[in-house]
């Protein structure tokens, strides 16, 4: 058995309440590693095209990777793969915390949930023993209460729980799954899938051990990873001190901080929202996920003012942008409170904030008014209105009911002409970077396999702030604005990101390239016993990326879906370093498809699939 794995996957059919065990082949583990890769592999083979995301046919796959639960930095992560109800694409969200480690200690690499329960249930995995329990009493409660009650039920404060809140139960299309009260798998609405299956929570605890293939080499490479993380300016200094929000000032100075529903790329009060301000005003302490020495989690306490009593996890970068600058809100306390409400109700704070900012723009343009919003004054900068919308979205109340299905559905309801203001790709709202100041970000938004998302990779850090990888071929000079740049460097960076997401390690270790592909490959070889080098790791990433692409194509996505909102391609940026620039996407797409080995319509060629060992899926395309 390869090291780092338990080689057991638990399958649960909620339709009849049965459990079964599966052992993944070693070759599958080697090719797809774990996490996002393994989740995508199962999803591709089990969810037929045209499946209803909220029906019994969809799967929700909780997966750890070989690195989860080990001693490497950021090893406390797990991934959640499903067919997204928001986008209709395959979707993998990642969460930190301690839940993934506990699952591994309970003896499982992953859990595949299928079918649909008639009554609300929750799952307890007690050191390998799965048990479905009645959740009638906790159905309807928020994630914090759910966490406390389940711990109380089993008299164990160290139980690790991942659960949905009212948003997931009400099938809000961007509902999150919240684990350990502070971390969430949020983007793409996995919470709604869990809600549709009437699965309220999964609680795990375990005491089982697992081992590395070569302990000596493992220890050596672990030391190396820790040192690299410590030596990098981002992971060694800025993130531990100020969290991910410590980069807001830098992002703003490059004109890529999305503001007022992406109308502008600079926010003149950005510093008030930064991690530096948070550290001065509300930070009580920091926390790390399992074995993480970056400890970016902010714990905050707001003792006075309208948002007093906000105590717990603070917002991170993307949440601050969505609930701050995008809503023209410079009140960090309001953003922190709104973020906590999202955690509590089980909502994705990014999509929630961006959807509210879209509604704010409609309100300012007079397309909707107080009659539509039931009296709420949704003007830009009105943070009280923003905060009051969050429970309404989660419970589908009043105007919130309209926003709960995502921006495209809401635009259809309000009027087709409002669709031009929705800042989404494949129905997923764009997160915290304004693409007009960064060509690579624009392209990664357009082509990402889970919709508008820039985390794979976080290209703005490379293109604008100059963090480059030594191992991946990257140009000497980046030109984020001209459109002349050879954008092909993005491809290995994407492959690397998706491989790291399969380990499962955190994107924070690679957005500044603290850890290079060769280091992760060496580490993974020592841990698993498979022989990886840099190229094998990137090839695994490419294989997963192509499989995800194939899934989306099978669902009917085409080149036409690889597009950007009209605002980014037609309206020149009004301020900042990117002033006057727009994005010319089509030429970039041509270059990208060609470099990926895809045809002009973005479909992977048979030749490329054969190179990746995926010839069996060619007939599906």
């Amino acid at each position: 058995m390869p090291g780092g794995y338990t080689s057991k996957i638990l399958r649960i059919d909620l339709g009849n309440g049965s459990f079964s065990l599966e052992k993944p082949d070693d070759t599958v583990l080697r090719d797809y590693i774990g996490g996002e890769g393994l989740g995508t592999h199962y999803l591709y083979h089990e969810v037929a095209p045209g499946t209803d995301p909220l029906g019994p046919g969809n799967r929700i796959i909780f997966m750890t990777g070989p690195v989860t639960g080990t001693l490497a930095p950021t090893s406390g992560r797990h991934s959640v793969t499903t067919l997204s109800p928001l986008t209709g694409c395959q979707n993998t969200s990642h969460a930190g915390g301690y839940w993934g480690t506990q699952l591994k200690l309970a003896g499982y690499d992953g859990i595949i949930v299928q079918g649909q329960s008639k009554e609300p249930v929750y799952l307890l995995i007690d050191d390998g023993e799965p048990l479905l329990l009645d959740a009638k009493d906790i159905w309807g409660l928020d994630t914090f209460r759910t966490d406390a009650i389940i711990k109380d039920n089993h008299h164990d404060g160290k139980l690790s729980i991942t659960s949905i809140g009212p948003a997931g139960e009400n099938l809000v299309k961007y509902a999150s799954i919240q684990n350990d009260r502070q971390r969430s798998a949020a983007r793409g609405g996995p919470g709604a899938v869990m809600g549709s299956k009437k699965l309220k929570a999964i609680a795990v605890r375990g005491t089982q051990s697992f081992s590395a293939a070569d302990p000596e080499k493992y220890h050596e490479s672990m030391d190396e990873l820790l040192q690299s993380v410590k030596n990098n300016v981002l992971t060694g200094s800025i993130f531990p001190k100020f969290g991910m929000a410590g980069i807001i000032d830098a992002i703003n100075s490059h004109g890529v901080l999305p503001t007022r529903n992406n109308q502008s790329g600079t926010f003149n009060q950005a510093h008030k929202l930064s991690g530096q301000t948070m550290a001065k005003t509300m930070l009580t302490r920091t926390r790390g996920c399992y074995c993480c020495n970056i400890h970016c989690t902010r714990l905050i306490n707001i003792p006075f003012g309208p948002y007093h009593g906000t105590r717990g996890k603070g917002p991170d970068y993307d949440a601050i942008v969505a609930l701050g600058s995008q809503c023209d809100n410079s009140n960090l306390e309001a953003a922190a409170h709104a973020n906590m409400l999202c955690d509590q109700y089980g909502l994705d704070p990014v999509t929630t904030g961006e959807t509210i900012s879209w509604a704010m723009e409609l309100f300012e343009r007079g397309i909707i008014n107080r009659n539509d919003t039931r009296g709420i004054d949704l003007t830009f900068g009105n943070h009280e209105a923003m905060v009051s919308m969050i429970p309404k979205i989660a419970t589908r109340m009043e105007f919130g009911a309209l926003l709960a299905d995502g921006p495209t559905a809401a635009a259809k309801h309000i009027g087709e002409k409002t669709a031009q203001y929705t800042m989404e790709v494949k129905n997923m709202n764009l997160p915290g970077v304004d693409a007009r100041g960064s060509n690579a970000t624009a392209l990664s938004y357009a082509v990402d396999n889970r919709g508008g998302d820039d985390l794979r990779p976080f290209a703005v850090m490379t293109e604008c702030l100059g963090f480059r990888s030594k191992d991946l071929a990257m140009p000497e000079q980046f030109e984020p604005l001209s459109g002349k740049e050879n954008i092909e460097w993005l491809i290995p960076a994407q492959n690397y990101s998706v491989a790291v997401n399969s380990l499962v390690c955190c994107m924070l270790t690679i957005i500044g390239y603290s850890i290079e592909p060769s280091q992760y490959a060496k580490h993974l070889s020592a841990l698993t016993g498979f022989n990886y080098d840099k190229d094998h790791l990137l090839l695994a990433g490419e294989r997963i990326w192509n499989l995800q692409r194939a899934f989306n194509i099978r669902e009917g996505f085409t080149r036409d879906d690889d597009r950007l909102p009209a605002r980014l391609t037609n309206e020149p940026a009004p301020t900042g370093p990117a002033k006057g620039s727009t994005i010319h996407l089509e030429p970039m797409l041509d270059t990208y498809y060609q470099a990926r080995g895809w045809d002009r319509n973005g479909i992977p060629t048979r030749e490329r699939l054969r190179l990746l060992g995926l010839e069996h899926i060619a007939r599906d395309l």
């Binding site: 639960g69 080990t70 001693l71 406390g76 301690y98 480690t101 200690l105 404060g157 009260r181 375990g206 005491t207 089982q208 051990s209 697992f210 081992s211 590395a212 302990p215 220890h219 820790l226 009580t284 302490r285 920091t286 926390r287 790390g288 996920c289 399992y290 074995c291 993480c292 020495n293 400890h295 714990l299 306490n301 105590r311 717990g312 996890k313």
Partner: protein, 138 residues
């Protein structure tokens, strides 16, 4: 006269100390077998339980399974207290008297796991990312 000290205020609750402890003693990954324990009280209180080598467990042990090893000295100029696994009968007397509640009973081996300061090179101190644990000499 070295000793292990802790600072709960800078602990980030990452459990690396627990995990490296098991790794150092048994070469497997399992934070639940750490001879050091970190607790979390929501929302933001972290408590570290460490062995202070007080020797009360040795006094309580009916079969002298916990013994002084003079190889390294602790604060009170005693040797470090170690567990002789061949002698332990798993009665649990030592758990009752442990003032920091760091001694735990493990069902799979039917005995506790006892901190031995890694014989002078405590790995939890070496790998703590925020120096919440230290090794004080003298």
């Amino acid at each position: 006269m070295p000793r292990l000290t802790k600072n709960d205020d800078v602990c980030i609750h990452c459990h690396r100390c627990e995990s490296i402890c098991t790794w150092a003693h048994e070469s497997v990954f399992n934070p639940k077998r750490g001879r050091i324990i970190v607790d979390l009280e929501y929302p933001d209180i972290h408590n570290i339980r460490v062995c202070i080598q007080c020797g009360r467990c040795a006094d309580a042990c009916p079969v002298d399974a916990i013994y002084q090893d003079p190889e390294i000295l602790t604060t009170s100029e005693q040797g470090v207290f170690r567990l002789d696994e061949t002698k332990c009968i798993g009665c649990g007397e030592c758990l009752q008297v442990c003032p920091t509640h760091v001694l735990q009973f493990f069902h799979e081996v039917r005995m506790p796991r006892k901190c031995d300061f890694c014989l002078g090179e405590p790995q939890c101190v070496k790998y703590c990312p925020t120096s919440a644990l230290s090794w004080v000499l003298g």
